[in-house]
Symmetry: C2
Subunit: 267 residues, 2 copies
């Protein structure tokens, strides 16, 4: 059996009881380590589960996962994923491949930022399409995500912006070399996201959004160190929310009184 | 301390390890029983936690919850909610009131249908606004939710439709009497939702959707008895997905190849 198990958002104890039972009985347990990260590291999880974990980076997940899937035909193999295990396309793809190999699988769901974002008081049913804000480079500054924010905004819907994560990314130079070199991991902060958003707003003066538009910054949602800040985008550019992971929400222009009251405590 | 704890979607073991620890140490534990229901009942949870639970129906949650909140000033009180605890407005409102009383609170997140719907293979970032489909009566047939489906559909986004739940609803007659009488609990099925949707489509011939439009029916997501069916809306009207809870998804008109491949297994 192949198990895809969500770890939730905070620390080791955010796994479900069902998930923990499976982790303990499996022959092999992999920890996915590139679509998201937990506030605690591999060692803390190993201590909590009392068993070793195999780190599954992008290369393993996209290249060598088939070996593990085939092994799951006769053995119990689990892949642990931060948040909910089906948040990223990679993992649905894995399940399709498991099916091709005739491997049975089970999914153990958990909290994801997609639902836990409700901790800021904005109602889930008022969210529109979720967007991902990528890191810009000097020569590559895509802003198609901004159109989605504007479409949500004009329909009076909130937008959850997932912020870019770069873990074990090969350096540009190394792509042409035989020896792989990796960039230091980096996680986009609310400050950085707000700053990119302000730049796009300046380039699109008729978008309906301005630097004064409200934003909600969130960090380490679901952990005891969770932080939430409600600021104008302009002010958010200087708002330090501490260590990763961060997320940004652009609220609808007109809020429900209960949403307003809830947000007020984070101003 | 007041704890708002998500139970996830399946059975007793879908609570998180952190959630279970809190349930065991609390002075009082309430089980919210009207915004959603678990596939197992109160007794199974009491056995699993080895402690009694107090059923919190709508009257208690909207009327008498303040007594429990005030008690949480000196004691540990938890409210258990199916799915994620902040999915419904009622619970954000409770946290605001806790704050007014000077009561500290913690939220323990868990899986919600909002993210677990990804089990059907449709990607979460392609979902638009979530809608709720209410039970119609002979004289009350609201269809504002249909406009939202159409807006999502025209933007090539999926729509998650949450289906109506009636638990401990006073009968119409009893509203004028002194003695309250309650209707039997009822949970809208995928069949019923598809049938209402087909009626609305017939009334709106230019909506872009037809009886032949694709729908995804889901039942008991996250439990071992989870069922998923992919059918045209017309056929879905006769598709029995077993006991509650049910949800319906209207996929975007154009799907990603991976989404198509994943859905194909449920046709």
């Amino acid at each position: 059996m192949f198990y895809l198990i969500g770890l939730g958002l905070g620390d080791a104890k955010d796994i479900t009881v069902r998930g923990l039972e499976i982790v303990k009985k499996c022959d092999k347990v992999l920890l996915e380590a590139y679509t998201s990260v937990l506030t605690v590291g591999k060692e803390v999880l190993e201590d909590f589960y009392n068993r070793p974990l195999i780190i599954a980076d992008r290369e393993l997940c996209e290249g060598n996962i088939d070996d593990f899937l085939k092994e799951a035909k006769d053995k119990d193999v689990a892949l642990l994923v931060v948040g909910d295990p089906l948040g990223a396309t990679t993992h649905s793809d894995m399940l399709l491949r498991a099916r091709q190999y005739g491997v049975e699988f089970q999914v153990v769901h958990n909290a994801s930022i997609i639902n836990a974002v409700s901790c800021c008081g904005l109602q889930l049913y008022n969210f529109g399409e979720t967007v991902s804000i990528p890191y810009w480079t000097e020569t590559w500054q895509p802003d198609s995500w901004f159109q989605k924010i504007i479409e949500n905004f004009s329909r009076n819907l909130h937008t959850l912006c997932l912020l870019d994560i770069k873990v074990k990314e090969p350096t540009e130079e190394s792509l042409t070399k035989k020896v792989r070199q990796y960039m230091d991991p980096k996680f986009m902060s609310v400050k950085e996201a707000a700053s990119q958003l302000v730049k796009v707003i300046e380039r699109n003066p008729d978008s309906g959004m301005t630097q004064e538009s409200l934003a909600v910054g969130l960090s380490r949602v679901g952990s005891p160190e969770q932080k939430i800040a409600v600021r104008s985008l302009q002010v958010m550019q200087d708002c330090d929310l501490g260590p990763p992971l961060h997320s940004l929400v652009i609220p609808a222009p007109t809020l429900h009184p209960l949403e307003l009251e809830y947000l007020a405590q984070f101003r």
